[in-house]
């Protein structure tokens, strides 16, 4: 559950309770052409395949068939301030295979906000169009107030 060393259990010891474990898992979007029963996670570097399997099965009750892990090297980039090349941290990626009959689709988190943005843009365009029409209508009499119309 965690990489810290806890005392070995001897008969009569109380139940071991693990507080603030340093095992974490983060669900990420798989690449677009992945099989539907494979889920991608980023996880703590110290986790093994057995750890990942137990984490998902015991805490989230997800039936796991197989786990494959890979360590992705962090990207190299130029430091903005100094200009030399620096490296981002490495990430351990876990490819978890669910039973064939189960599928998992990564949820679309920003669907609503895209719609809202589109609506905002539409209403802005409409009001711009109306303003241009109003100016066009009153081109020949710029000094007369707006409520004064035929």
């Amino acid at each position: 559950m965690s990489t810290r060393w806890y005392p070995i259990y001897q008969r009569g010891n109380p139940q071991l309770r693990v507080f603030l474990p340093n095992f974490w898992m983060k669900l990420v979007r798989p690449h677009p052409k992945q099989l539907p029963n494979i889920v991608h996670f980023h996880c703590s570097m110290e986790m093994t395949k057995y750890d990942i399997k137990n984490y998902l099965e015991k805490i989230y009750e997800v039936p796991v068939v197989d786990v494959r892990t890979k360590i992705n090297m962090g990207k190299f980039k130029k430091d903005v301030v100094k200009g030399y090349v620096i490296k981002e941290d490495d990430v351990k990626v876990a490819f978890v295979t669910l039973p064939k009959t189960m599928t998992f689709k990564y949820p679309d988190l920003f669907e609503k906000s895209i719609n809202e943005e589109e609506e905002h843009a539409k209403s802005l365009d409409e009001s711009k169009k109306n303003f241009r029409k109003y100016i066009d209508h009153n081109k020949s009499r710029p000094d007369i107030p707006s409520w004064f119309s035929i």
Partner: protein, 548 residues
């Protein structure tokens, strides 16, 4: 000046004089009644590349000998193809859709053998009664009364090796008993060759599969049009199998289903485009090899039956489940049958680019002594590279049983509850007699030169033989494959901080080192002492690569 003018006027006079004999000859040969135009070629980029591929494939078809064709298949890659490795003894989870698509085989689960075996059934049940007791004794002895001293290898699990070793002994005994008892009645049994621990390898190209993620990334960086990012290309596949025992004969088995049925749309296989790494099949750099257990030139070139062990099932995780274990056996059988048949087809002159013109059949048995699965496979087509994967109407067919128990238990050295149906099916496999075919068996091989051994020129023959055997052995090379070191990737490619250094590496000069062809090397130098007398200028030894 005047001399030039004079010369010119002389030429004009010479050309003006009609030369009657040549004009009549031209009229007869060059002019026809209707105009014959040359074919209009597709000059788009895709059209030109397709024509280049097709000319390569037709050049392979025109080569005479089997070995030259195999060398030609490997010609485009000096360092070997990055092949998707399909092994016999490892099947990942949910591999059935991938294996079916990569071998283009439609799987038909059956409880009994297909109809082609009905005629031999009666005879088989007669012979069964005679053989039953001998087989029971053999199984009992092998499984209980033999003191074994195992020597386990490090690379495979102990459980798997133990089961496979015992299976090997049982299978050899059963094969000996059946063949000895059948050789009186059936003539084809005596002429059948037995191979123990044969080497089966098969190589083909599969199309319609998604390109690897590195390729997609490269295409995006090099600004290919968006529609072409996920365009599929030929992916080389290599199968390596290790059967326990194989039988082969001079003539091929009779087809299970008529050849015309191969185009039946009911046998269509679903497309599986996901990269094989997702399922669990990974890639390796090696030369593509097609070996059906014997070298070219052997008379017994058609397979009858092959036995395989199923120790790898013990190694699979329990979380995979029973249903997936049964499917893993089906996958193993399809890979083994297709691989062996493809290698046999390559020895008849067909390749992954030149399609079969007749069907080939083989029988596969996967067993561990107690559980037996029997499969009959008909190969109708071997062409499934990118240009033909969608347009090829033919498919291969595999009939397979579930694992069947041969006996219940063994007590006191006696086998209890022997399942006679399983033995009868096995006997039917042996009794399925091969028959000579009417049509041409090797249409794409030369008339006189079918094998390198037929070539008369000594130098060419010896060179080709040596080159073929070395290529196909896939021994680890002394020189390493080209590599971009991590420091070069960071400081020369991604962030060029070493711009002042001389550009000597291939990636700095725009060369892709993996496009090196097989014949792209200098040949060995002949020292002056060893050259032909007198004063031969031939500095380098001659190479006899096929011209593709």
């Amino acid at each position: 000046m005047h001399i030039i003018k004079l010369h010119r006027s002389l030429l004009k006079i010479k050309n003006a004089i009609p030369r009657y004999s040549t004009i009549t000859a031209l009229e007869e040969s060059e002019y026809t009644e209707t105009p014959e135009y040359p074919p209009i070629l597709d000059m788009t980029r895709e059209g030109k590349l397709l024509r280049r591929r097709q000319s390569f494939q037709s050049k392979i078809q025109e080569l005479n000998t089997i070995e030259e064709k195999q060398i030609a298949l490997n010609m485009p890659r000096y360092y070997g193809w990055q092949c998707i490795m399909l092994n016999n003894d490892k099947v990942p989870y949910n591999a059935m859709p991938l294996v079916q698509y990569y071998t283009r085989s439609h799987f038909i689960p059956v409880a009994k053998l297909p109809e082609a075996y009905n005629e031999i059934e009666q005879q088989a049940s007669n012979i069964l009664q005679e053989i039953k007791s001998q087989i029971e004794d053999a199984i009992a002895i092998e499984l209980t009364d033999v003191e074994r001293n195992f020597k386990f290898l490090q690379d495979k699990s102990i459980k798997m090796q133990q089961e496979d070793t015992i299976t090997k002994c049982v299978v050899r005994q059963i094969n000996r008993i059946i063949m000895n008892n059948l050789s009186d009645n059936l003539p084809h049994i005596l002429s059948t060759q037995i191979d123990y621990d044969a080497r089966h390898e098969a190589f083909w190209h599969i199309g319609g599969v998604d390109p690897p993620t590195t390729t997609v990334k490269w295409r995006k960086e090099n600004k290919w049009p968006k529609s072409t990012h996920y365009e599929s290309t030929d992916r080389p596949v290599q199968y390596i199998g290790s059967p326990i025992l194989t039988l082969r004969n001079r003539h091929p088995l009779k087809p299970l289903i008529p050849y015309s049925e191969a185009e039946n749309p009911a046998f269509k296989v679903d497309k599986f485009t996901t990269i094989p790494g997702s399922v669990g099949y990974f890639r390796e750099f090696r030369h593509g090899t097609n070996i059906p257990g014997f070298w070219p030139g052997d008379i017994d070139e058609f397979g009858l039956l092959s036995y395989h062990g199923r120790g790898h099932i013990l190694d699979r995780k329990t979380s995979f489940g029973e249903q997936d274990n049964i499917e893993a056996l089906h996958c193993q059988a399809m890979k083994a049958s297709f691989g062996w048949l493809l290698a046999q087809a390559n020895y008849q002159g067909f390749t992954t680019f030149n399609d079969l013109t007749y069907p080939l059949v083989t029988q596969t048995v996967i067993t561990n002594g107690k559980l037996w699965s029997l499969y009959a496979y008909q190969l109708n087509t071997i062409v499934m590279h990118n240009d033909t994967v969608d347009s090829n109407p033919k498919h291969n067919i595999c009939f397979g049983t579930k694992p069947l128990q041969l006996y219940e238990t063994i007590e006191n050295g006696k086998v209890l509850g022997l399942n006679e149906d399983v033995l009868k099916m096995l006997l039917q496999f042996y009794m399925n007699a091969p028959a000579e075919r009417d049509h041409a068996m090797k249409p794409y091989l030369g008339k006189d030169e079918k094998v390198v051994a037929d070539i008369e020129d000594d130098n060419r023959r010896c060179w080709l033989e040596e080159r073929y055997k070395y290529l196909v052995s896939n021994r680890p090379k002394h020189s390493l494959i080209p590599e971009v070191y991590l420091w070069e990737k960071i400081y020369k490619i991604q962030h060029n901080t070493r711009f002042f250094e001389a550009k000597r590496r291939p990636f700095e000069r725009g060369i892709n080192p993996f496009n090196r062809r097989l014949d792209d090397h200098i040949s060995p130098y002949i020292p002056k002492v060893l050259r032909e007398y007198p004063r031969s200028k031939k500095k380098f030894e001659a190479t006899y690569y096929p011209q593709v």
